[in-house]
């Protein structure tokens, strides 16, 4: 056990620092929080430019094979990069899904020709990917999805509706989970594909979310023709492929969103016009200490997971821990920060929302963090069942042919419509 870098790791860290110093602003000198709550064209441009810089300098795809444009380095290098980057204000949130989930799924299941074609543009920020799993009636119960893929010669024809698809509005490609066999039990009749988001029959409609932004979308698929070569994994083996994606998701989404523990520390210790800072009060110190302990615990826990990964062990479902803790902490911290502002916490500065209202914005965005990537309830189930070995929930629909399963109704994000 040690925190020391090996000489080689120390060299790597040095090069990361040099790169960041030359190309990014330290976060304590920047007004811009790293995770954008709203991505518009301008932010998208910044994110692409940053991704390109990283790729050019050899800091993108750190753990990916060299053959596909990655660096072929270990998870420890990934940790080192993340540790260093965390001190700078850099754009985030645009490529996470593509690079964290979609491309890793391709790396596991796509053929060489496709990897040759898709990995590099994704790494360089030229192409953006999205993940189309959830549907109006299949979220937690993902395997209950009804988007249909029917074989037609060398192609498949996709019909159905996806929803909550983050980033679909600016994505070039996406992975889609669809049902190819309605007669099989629900987990057994699924198949994974990737599609061109510009293909005929793909229609993306942004959803206005409670935070005010429109990050996620409905995606309507109407007779979308997909070559069989864009199938990932075997026919009817899509569930297993999806599990690979979600496993990568848990690793990718564990990072603490901003405002993070340092942001709240800065906020609580800053004194305003000669008044004592909130941190002068005992109650505030104790609340802060709880979050600090949770934050550092998650960070060390993730790094332990990555240590395992670097030894060739697969990180297990225990990575759900990071997601559960960080989402709840984000909601609590942002609530507490606005509470410290008194009635002033009500106000939003519309002219410069990113800079001046990080806690207000986080307050309104945090509920989504507890749902995205699997709800906290589902993640607790996963820990209870797969880590602790407790009995699985009763599943009324197990082993029943999918077409015979009863399905309830969902709600449409647009008033007056049902799904």
């Amino acid at each position: 056990m040690d925190l020391e870098d090996s000489p080689e790791e120390a060299r790597f860290r040095k090069s990361v620092r040099a790169f960041l110093d030359a190309n990014a602003t330290r976060r304590d000198e920047s007004a811009e929080p790293a995770r954008y709550y709203e991505v518009d064209e301008a932010k998208l441009g910044l994110a692409r430019a940053w991704q390109r810089k990283k790729a050019a300098a050899g800091f993108a795809g750190i753990r990916w094979p060299k053959q596909w444009g990655g660096q072929g380095l270990s998870s420890i290098h990934e940790v080192i990069y993340q540790q260093e980057e965390a001190r700078y204000a850099v754009p985030k949130g645009v490529f996470d899904i593509g690079l964290g989930m979609c491309i890793p799924t391709l790396l596991a299941y796509a053929d060489d020709a496709h990897l040759e074609r898709y990995t590099k543009p994704a790494l360089w920020g030229d192409e953006i990917w999205c993940q189309m799993f959830s549907e109006p009636n299949a979220g937690s119960d993902l395997a209950g999805l009804t988007t249909r893929a029917v074989r037609d010669g060398a192609d498949w024809i996709l019909d159905g509706q996806k929803t909550w698809t983050s980033g679909a509005q600016f994505s070039d490609f996406g992975i889609v989970l669809a049902r190819t066999d309605f007669g099989a039990p629900k987990h057994k009749g699924l198949t994974m594909f990737f599609i061109d988001m510009k293909a005929p029959g793909v229609e993306v409609r942004p959803i206005h979310q409670m935070s005010g932004a429109s990050h996620f979308n409905e995606v309507f698929l109407s007779g979308v023709r997909v070559p069989d070569a864009q199938r990932l994994g075997e026919v009817s083996d899509g569930w297993r492929v999806a599990v690979t994606t979600l496993m990568n998701e848990r690793l990718a989404v564990g990072e603490e969103a901003r405002p993070d523990i340092e942001d709240i520390h800065a906020f609580l210790t800053q004194s305003d016009g000669g008044k004592a800072p909130p941190m002068a009060e005992q109650a505030v110190r104790f609340r802060f200490a709880d979050w600090y302990v949770a934050s550092k615990g998650v960070e060390a826990f993730r790094n332990r997971g990555l240590t395992k990964l670097s030894r060739g062990e697969m990180p297990g479902p225990e990575l759900s821990v990071a997601r559960i803790v960080n989402a709840e902490k984000l909601q609590q911290m942002s609530r507490y920060a606005v509470e410290m502002m008194g009635a002033g916490g009500l106000l939003l500065d519309r002219d410069n929302p990113q800079a001046n209202n990080p806690f207000q914005l986080a307050l309104l965005a945090a509920p989504g963090a507890r749902i995205a990537g699997g709800t906290s309830e589902i993640l607790r189930n996963i820990i209870a069942e797969r880590v602790l070995g407790l009995p699985a929930d009763t599943r009324a629909d197990k082993d029943v042919p999918f077409r015979e399963i009863a399905r309830g109704a969902g709600k449409s994000p647009r008033k007056g419509e049902t799904v």
Partner: protein
């Protein structure tokens, strides 16, 4: 960077676990609870003989120099097994002497701890309240100690103590003293009688100032508490893990309404939350251990983080383990009773959660000033 214990340390942990299982420590703890609490000195000496305890003491002072990694895994096993041994007392005394003692004092006292020949302890607490220099009133004058300390871990059985006292100038001085006939020692009943605590009255007890003097004695003491806190955090993590294991096992086998109780989400989610708390505590403790290993000063924040996390995890795990067991968990005979008591006792013995939260936040303040 490598955030897992070394092969060697893990092997020592396995060995300790098997040994402590064979010695049936939970029965010993239960017996101590029902009778008079006596630290199990015989079991302690056996553990010392394996070289497990002296691992933090350098070879020149009779230890084996195996290092803190080994001590951390041993602490975890002690926590898991509930061994009623004089652990915290010896670690505290050892740490303080190691950090503050003169060459001579280290050569004289540390081998006694490392060999198990004597039991040392720290006499710190006086009146109820958070640990602070202001609370120290016991006097040290003309080489003699006068005053009261309570509670002192293993105080009735220990052979000597580092006694935190005040000299006529008002400065804090740690003093090394044998327990001779001038010390009146009375065992005190506590919320966890499987670990002994005592009230001590010093009446002109001869003692020798620890270290070479100077004004930094309190700061050195507090720094030694930081180090001990990391080790105790591992003891708490071990206890918390044992509580979780007990609860999970019971949830799989106990049936109600025609199925295992662990099939209900109220139980599953409760135990998932315990798992989260235990893993965070373990991770924080490991960062604390890295701080111990690297010997790079500022351990305050990492130690406080480890300790707060461990207190929270053990209290939660032991409470929820009782809840998962239902009525049987609330009986005297149940292991959950032992763990719940131990969790609460450990949470109070070496600075409470609020002491460590304050230490954490003020540690960050100092870091930001630096």
């Amino acid at each position: 960077m490598n955030l897992e214990f070394s092969e060697e340390a893990r092997a020592i942990g396995d060995q300790a676990r098997r040994f402590l299982e064979k010695r049936d420590c939970r029965e010993r703890a239960r017996a101590a609870l029902s009778g008079e609490a006596e630290p199990d000195v015989e079991l302690w000496r056996e553990m010392v003989a394996f070289g497990w305890i002296g691992s933090f003491i350098p070879e020149e002072y009779g230890g084996n120099g195996a290092g803190y990694e080994a001590l951390c895994v041993i602490a975890e096993e002690i926590g898991r097994s509930l061994a009623p041994v004089p652990f915290a007392s010896n670690i505290l005394a050892g740490e303080i002497i190691l950090r503050s003692g003169t060459q001579e004092q280290k050569s004289y006292w540390l081998p006694k701890i490392a060999s198990g020949e004597m039991i040392g302890t720290l006499a710190l607490h006086e009146a109820p309240g958070r640990i602070s220099a202001d609370a120290i009133t016991l006097r040290y004058e003309n080489g003699r100690l006068t005053g009261r300390k309570c509670p002192v871990p293993d105080g009735a059985q220990a052979d000597f103590a580092v006694v935190v006292a005040r000299d006529p100038d008002g400065s804090i001085v740690p003093v090394l003293a044998f327990f001779d006939e001038t010390v009146t020692r009375t065992r005190q009943p506590t919320i966890d009688d499987s670990r002994a605590q005592a009230e001590l009255h010093f009446d002109g007890t001869p003692g020798e100032r620890l270290g070479s003097g100077g004004s930094g004695a309190w700061a050195e003491l507090v720094a030694a508490l930081d180090r001990a806190a990391v080790i105790l955090a591992f003891e708490e993590v071990g206890g918390a893990q044992a509580c979780l294991d007990l609860a999970v096992e019971y949830a799989k086998t106990r049936h109600a309404f025609g199925r295992p109780i662990g099939a209900n989400q109220a139980i599953k989610h409760k135990l998932a939350n315990v798992y989260v708390a235990v893993e965070l505590a373990r991770s924080n403790a490991m960062m604390g251990a890295l701080g111990l290993l690297s010997e790079q000063g500022d351990l305050a924040v990492a130690a406080a983080t480890a300790r707060v996390s461990a207190i929270q995890a053990f209290i939660m795990a032991s409470s929820e383990s009782i809840q998962t067991h239902g009525g049987i968990g609330f009986t005297w005979e149940a292991d959950t009773n032992l763990f719940y008591r131990r969790a609460n006792a450990l949470a109070l013995g070496l600075g409470t959660e609020s002491y460590w939260k304050e230490r954490l936040v003020s540690g960050l303040e100092q870091r930001h000033l630096a």
